[in-house]
C-alpha cells in the first residue's frame, strides 16, 4: 500500500478523533494555548499540558508523546512546528511531521490524526503546509 492510500482527509475537530494518537500543533515550549492545542486541552484536560511541559522546551521540529487525558485517543504527540510566539515555516512543518511519525513508529501506533501544522498562529499557507517542504 502506498503512503497516499493510507492518507484520508476529513473536516472536523481533531479532539474528537478516536485514532490511537492525535498530533498537537505545538510550540517549542509545549504550552497549550489556542487553536488545536487549546481544543485538545479543553477536551482532554490540563493534565495533557502538565505532562507535555515536563518534556519541554524542545527544539523546533521535535516531538514528544504524552497520555491523552479524557480524549478518545490514547496518546497525544506534540509536534513543535514553531517556537513560542514565532512563525512556523514549511521546513519546520516538515520536520515536525517527520518527528511525529517517527514517534508513532517507535510506539507502534497504527492510527494517527494530524492537523494542518503551522497554519494557525504559525502563519504557514495551506499549500506550503500540505507540501512541506
Amino acid at each position: 500500500m502506498s503512503w497516499r492510500e493510507r492518507v484520508t482527509l476529513q473536516q472536523g475537530n481533531i479532539a474528537e478523533c478516536n485514532t490511537e494518537a492525535v498530533v498537537n500543533a505545538a510550540n517549542s515550549e509545549l504550552w497549550m494555548g489556542s487553536g488545536v492545542a487549546g481544543a485538545l486541552r479543553k477536551a482532554g484536560g490540563s493534565v495533557i499540558e502538565q505532562e507535555a511541559v515536563r518534556h519541554g522546551p524542545v527544539a523546533v521540529g521535535a516531538s514528544v508523546i504524552t497520555t491523552a487525558g479524557t480524549l478518545p485517543a490514547q496518546w497525544v504527540i506534540h509536534a513543535a512546528a514553531m517556537a513560542a510566539g514565532r512563525p512556523a515555516s514549511a521546513e519546520s512543518v516538515q520536520a515536525a511531521t517527520a518527528s511525529a511519525l517517527a514517534l508513532a513508529a517507535q510506539h507502534k501506533i497504527q492510527s494517527i490524526a494530524l492537523p494542518a501544522l503551522g497554519t494557525g498562529v504559525g502563519n504557514v499557507s495551506l499549500t506550503d503546509c500540505a507540501r512541506a517542504a
Binding site: R6, Q10, S111, A113, T119
Partner: protein, 39 residues
Amino acid sequence: MYSAIATHSAQHDLPGDIRLVLWGDNALTVFQQELDAAA
C-alpha cells in the same frame, strides 16, 4: 506534510491509518489538490 509522510514511508513503517483533520472547506480543497499532485 506530504513530503514528510512520503519520506518516512520510504524508510520506516507508516501507521495504516493517517487522517489529516482540517478546518474549513478551503483546507480540504487545498490538501486534496496537493495529494492528487503527489500521485
